[in-house]
Structures are given as structure tokens and as C-alpha cells.
């Protein structure tokens, strides 16, 4: 319980703090996203098919930004599978586990993109 508490406080603070930074990543403002890695390249396509419309480029749009907060992979996956709030859930029949892993790998690569 103690750990849960500390973790929650940690996440909460991180989330709050991170709302300040820009969520823009990739070209033209940042370095191109490195999609040399096959898994990342496949993850990008998954992201484009299912997420891009509400979180364009990982920025806010209809939904909130996801690039500018240090969301752990597990939390991204939880959100995708359960769709907390207004976001629709995406079950395994739609995005298989492996594709979801790749998509998370893509999102993490995108998040790390450096400013030009």
C-alpha cells in the first residue's frame, strides 16, 4: 500500500509537471523519428491507423497530448486496452499484443526525438 501510495504521488507529480512542455516531436521542428528499427516502423503504422486521428503526432487534438509526459509503457497499454474516460478501448482482436508492444516502442522513440 505504501508503495502504491508513493508510486501514485510520483506519477501524479510527474503528470502535472509534464503538462508544461511542448508535445511536438519529429520533423520539421525536431529531428526525424528514427524508424530504422523494424518494430518501431511497424509500431508507427499501428499508431497511424488507430491513434493519429485523436492524438496527431502524439500531440493534443481531440484528445490530450501523450508525447510530453513520462507515461510508462504499461500505462499506455492499459489506456489502450481499457479506454479510460472518453477514449475508445482497443481489444486484442483489433490491435494484437505484439503490435501494441511495437506501438509503445514507437511512442517512446517519438518522445525522445531531439530538438533541431
Amino acid at each position: 500500500m505504501k508503495r502504491c501510495f508513493l508510486l501514485s504521488v510520483g506519477f501524479f507529480l510527474l503528470l502535472m509537471l509534464s503538462y508544461c512542455g511542448t508535445a511536438r516531436r519529429g520533423v520539421p521542428m525536431f529531428d526525424p523519428v528514427d524508424i530504422e528499427n523494424q518494430a518501431v516502423a511497424q509500431g508507427e503504422k499501428v499508431y497511424m491507423s488507430y491513434c493519429q486521428k485523436c492524438h496527431p503526432g502524439g500531440e493534443a487534438g481531440l484528445g490530450p497530448a501523450i508525447n510530453n509526459k513520462p507515461l510508462p509503457g504499461a500505462m499506455i497499454k492499459f489506456q489502450v486496452r481499457n479506454g479510460l474516460g472518453m477514449m475508445p478501448a482497443f481489444k486484442e482482436e483489433v490491435i494484437p499484443d505484439e503490435e501494441l508492444d511495437n506501438m509503445v516502442a514507437y511512442l517512446k522513440t517519438l518522445r525522445k526525438a531531439k530538438e533541431e
Partner: protein, 489 residues
């Protein structure tokens, strides 16, 4: 301590999932918008390394498209109509070197003129038809206007768009739907056209069978007790019954059609089931692509969370409007607006299972004009460039941040979408919101005949208030020219 301990994970959940419902809409036309001036500064537009932008014409009123005549001279359309019910005279203008403008032709108040192409010595223009119905016009270089086809059923929410010429020599154009999702309602009254055309509604391209679902509404000036029951593909106040057949005819709503450029023969159906197929472009391989604006959260049958789409157009196919979005059926709660019922199908049978889109674009991004890069000198050869006008929130629905306001490029093989040009800043938004000198609302893109420059038509400032309150600002339109200044490595 104990209670706060238990509350924290809850609080966390709240941060994760409570935002959308609670946060106010923050569209690109909302909030503090600078409407009194439009400073121009190309440095405020972020471009890939080695590209630069300049403004080649400014002070335009609602520009929508450009074309080049056989001497390569730049021409631009002024729409003559904007959402917000502003009716002016549409114009075809020549942009002289130095940026001064010469009027080639002036149309009647039946805009918006949405698109132009130059072919065999003449300009071909799509006249939107908000007042009198859509037309395809031929305009000679000395300004003579001939109407090739008239009375296209586009006096509603969306207009007659295009045209482009195919490798087969035919002229391709498109018609947007009358309504958001098939049912005439109070939103159409707010837009203005329902008062002008109380019987206007969507028209299918083929016979359709209705589920017979009806929607109850009343129009703003009436007392709440005054209720009207309206079915799909029917005039406001006309109810429908299960199994009712609505006869299809051509021209119809939400369709791509083609005709001979000299006119004379009735148009043929290419494909239908689109909502507002605004941008049409042929790929270098001769394949037709269209951009389509997705549903809004408005009217009697609001639909939430649907993207704009890029489609490869296949002959004879139905693309899903009004019962699918991006190939996904309305069969669950996925498309339900916050706290409302999800939209239910209105067609008892669907003409075919809609294809999968080539690319998925931002919800409410208003992804409009398209053009393919055909040149190594510019780069990204074979990719399609897309102009995003940007959201009209909150009238179209709530967004947490401005959506669109940029030029994208799409790899049509993989469907991967990459930003090509957008304003500098922490977020992408129109210059009037960011208070800089970059893009307002890119509405179309066109490569120069040599393929070396990309022209971006920027409609200008458009402020949005509650509901359908839209305030477009005249004389704020710009044409930008983007060129590659350094060869790629």
C-alpha cells in the same frame, strides 16, 4: 492520512480519464484571436531543413485554390462565400510578378468557388452552389464564363468541389453532402440554408432502403413544444418508415462524378458514400485520391471521434457515409458523444463493405486540398501533400487543442502521415491565435508545373464562437510558395 492514501490512486485515474469531459474546448479559432491585422513572416513557419517559404500574394478574400495557365502564370480563386454566411462575388485572379492582382473573371453570388484546374487553354472551376446549386464552369483566359453543368444538389453544408482532369480526358468533380450525417436538423438552420431551402436534403446515388429511424428536433425561434420528426434522406419534418425506399439518382450527395470537359452529356458516377470529398488529385500513376471531411458532433445525429480520411477512389464503390467512418461501422458506442446515445445505422442494407482508408487524419482537422510531388528537385516524390484548414470547434465538436492548420505529406503506400509545414510554437495553431506571422488556414496545395515549388493557399483568419457562430475575415488570405533551397544530402 488513511483516506488521502486511498484517494490518490483515484486522483490519478481522474487525471487520466476525467480531462476530456471537464476541459473546455480549445479550437484554433477560439479564445483570443487577432482579427484586426495579418502580419506576414515566413520565418514563423517551421519547414524541413533546406526548404524556405515566401508569401507571393496577400490581402486575398477567402482564396481556395490556384492553377497555372499554359505560360505558367499563377492564378487564384477567391471563393465568394464563406461559412458564417458571407456572400461576395467569386473571382478568378491572376497573380502578377510582384504580387499585384488582375481580375480575369467575376462570378455571381453562388460560391464558394472551391477548385480550379487549367486544361487545354481554359480554366475549369467548381462553383459551390450555396445559393443556387452547384455548377462546373469553363472560364476562358479572357474571362468568358460558360456553365457546363448546373443544378448540382449542393446548397447545404457542403459544396461542389474539384475539378481535376484524368488521364482518360474526363473531368472529375465531387459533391459534398447536404447534412452532417443524413438527417436535416437545427444545425442546418443555424448554417443558414434550411431557411432558404426548407425541402433540401441528401440524395443517394443508388436506391437505398431505410431502417426508418426518425429524429425529433425543433428550430431555434420556435417554442420547445413545437416538435418536428425527421427521417434520413428526407426534408426537415418528414418522417420515414422501416423499409422505405429512397430512390437514387445522379447527381447525388457525397459523390465523385465525372463528365466530358466539353459538357453536353450527363455526368457519370465514379464513387459515393463520402461526406465532403474536398480534395481530388491523381497520383503520378494515374490513380485518383480524395480527402474527405469526417462527421461533426452536431445536429440530430451527432457523431463523435471520427477522423478525416484520405481515400484511393475505386470505380463504383460506396465509402460508408452515413453509417461508417473510415471503414468502421456504427455498431457500438465508439462514436457516441459524451453523455449521449451512439449514432445508429440508418440504412437497412449497405451497398458494399467500405474499403479501408489510405490514411487517417485528425478529427475535425478539415483535411482539404491535395497534390502529389512529381519532382526530385522538390523531394518526397510520389507522396501526397495535404492542406489542413483546421478545426471549426466548438461548432463541430470539442477539441482539447487546435487540430490541423498545417501541410502534411502522406506516404500512400504505408499510410504514414508526416508534418511538412506548420507554425513554430509550443502547439500548432493559426497565426492569429499564436500572434505570429505564419499560416492561418491552409486550404489547398499545388505544385508548380515544373514540380519544383509547392504553393499553399491560406484562406485567412476565421474566428469561431459558440455553436455555428463563425467570423471569417476578408482580405486576410495569402498564397505561400515553398521551395527547396538546398539539395538533399
Amino acid at each position: 492520512m488513511k483516506t488521502s492514501l486511498r484517494l490518490l490512486p483515484l486522483l490519478l485515474l481522474f487525471v487520466l480519464c476525467g480531462c476530456y469531459r471537464i476541459l473546455p474546448s480549445n479550437g484554433g479559432g477560439q479564445g483570443s484571436i487577432r482579427t484586426e491585422a495579418r502580419p506576414i513572416n515566413p520565418d514563423d513557419i517551421a519547414l524541413p531543413a533546406g526548404y524556405s517559404a515566401e508569401a507571393v500574394a496577400t490581402g486575398l478574400t477567402f482564396p481556395t485554390a490556384v492553377a497555372f495557365d499554359e505560360q505558367g502564370r499563377l492564378h487564384v480563386l477567391e471563393a465568394g462565400y464563406s461559412y458564417g454566411e458571407v456572400f461576395l462575388e467569386p473571382k478568378l485572379l491572376r497573380v502578377e510578378p510582384g504580387g499585384s492582382l488582375t481580375t480575369v473573371a467575376t462570378g455571381i453570388k453562388n460560391g464558394p468557388w472551391t477548385g480550379v484546374t487549367f486544361h487545354n487553354g481554359n480554366f475549369y472551376v467548381a462553383e459551390g452552389g450555396e445559393m443556387l446549386g452547384g455548377k462546373i464552369l469553363r472560364i476562358s483566359p479572357d474571362g468568358n464564363i460558360t456553365s457546363l453543368i448546373e443544378d448540382l444538389p449542393t446548397m447545404g453544408d457542403h459544396h461542389t468541389n474539384g475539378p481535376v482532369i484524368g488521364a482518360d480526358g474526363m473531368l472529375y468533380f465531387s459533391l459534398g453532402t447536404a447534412t452532417n450525417s443524413g438527417v436535416v436538423g437545427p444545425d442546418n438552420y443555424d448554417y443558414g440554408w434550411l431557411e432558404r431551402y426548407p425541402d433540401f436534403h441528401d440524395i443517394p446515388c443508388q436506391d437505398i432502403v431505410l431502417v426508418g429511424r426518425n429524429y425529433t428536433s425543433n428550430l431555434p425561434p420556435e417554442p420547445k413544444s413545437e416538435e418536428h420528426v425527421t427521417g434520413a434522406y428526407s426534408p426537415y419534418g418528414a418522417a420515414t418508415t422501416p423499409g422505405q425506399v429512397i430512390e437514387g439518382r445522379i447527381p447525388c450527395s457525397g459523390a465523385v462524378l465525372r463528365m466530358l470537359p466539353e459538357g453536353g452529356a450527363p455526368p457519370e458516377l465514379v464513387a459515393w458514400g463520402f461526406r465532403n470529398p474536398f480534395g481530388l488529385a491523381f497520383s503520378p500513376a494515374g490513380q485518383l485520391y480524395v480527402s474527405d471531411n469526417g462527421y461533426d458532433v452536431r445536429g440530430s445525429r451527432p457523431v463523435w471521434g471520427t477522423g478525416d480520411y484520405l481515400w484511393e477512389v475505386e470505380q463504383g464503390q460506396w465509402y460508408g457515409w452515413p453509417d461508417y467512418s473510415g471503414g468502421l461501422a456504427f455498431n457500438g458506442d465508439r462514436f457516441a458523444p459524451p453523455g449521449e446515445e451512439p449514432p445508429q445505422p440508418i440504412l437497412a442494407q449497405h451497398p458494399n463493405k467500405p474499403p479501408k482508408p489510405v490514411a487517417t487524419l485528425g478529427v475535425h482537422s478539415s483535411s482539404n486540398g491535395l497534390d502529389f510531388s512529381r519532382s526530385d528537385a522538390f523531394g518526397f516524390k510520389g507522396q501526397v501533400f495535404v492542406a489542413q484548414f483546421g478545426d471549426l470547434a466548438p461548432g463541430v465538436g470539442k477539441v482539447l487543442a487546435p487540430v490541423g492548420y498545417k501541410v502534411l505529406r502522406v506516404d500512400v503506400e504505408s499510410g504514414v502521415v508526416t508534418e511538412f509545414a506548420a507554425n513554430e510554437g509550443k502547439i500548432v495553431a493559426p497565426a492569429s491565435k499564436l500572434k505570429n506571422g505564419g499560416f492561418e488556414r491552409p486550404i489547398s496545395v499545388k505544385f508548380s508545373p515544373d514540380g519544383e515549388s509547392l504553393y499553399v493557399v491560406d484562406f485567412g483568419i476565421m474566428e469561431t464562437g459558440e455553436g455555428e457562430d463563425i467570423n471569417p475575415v476578408v482580405k486576410t488570405g495569402v498564397i505561400w510558395k515553398i521551395t527547396k533551397t538546398k539539395p538533399s544530402l
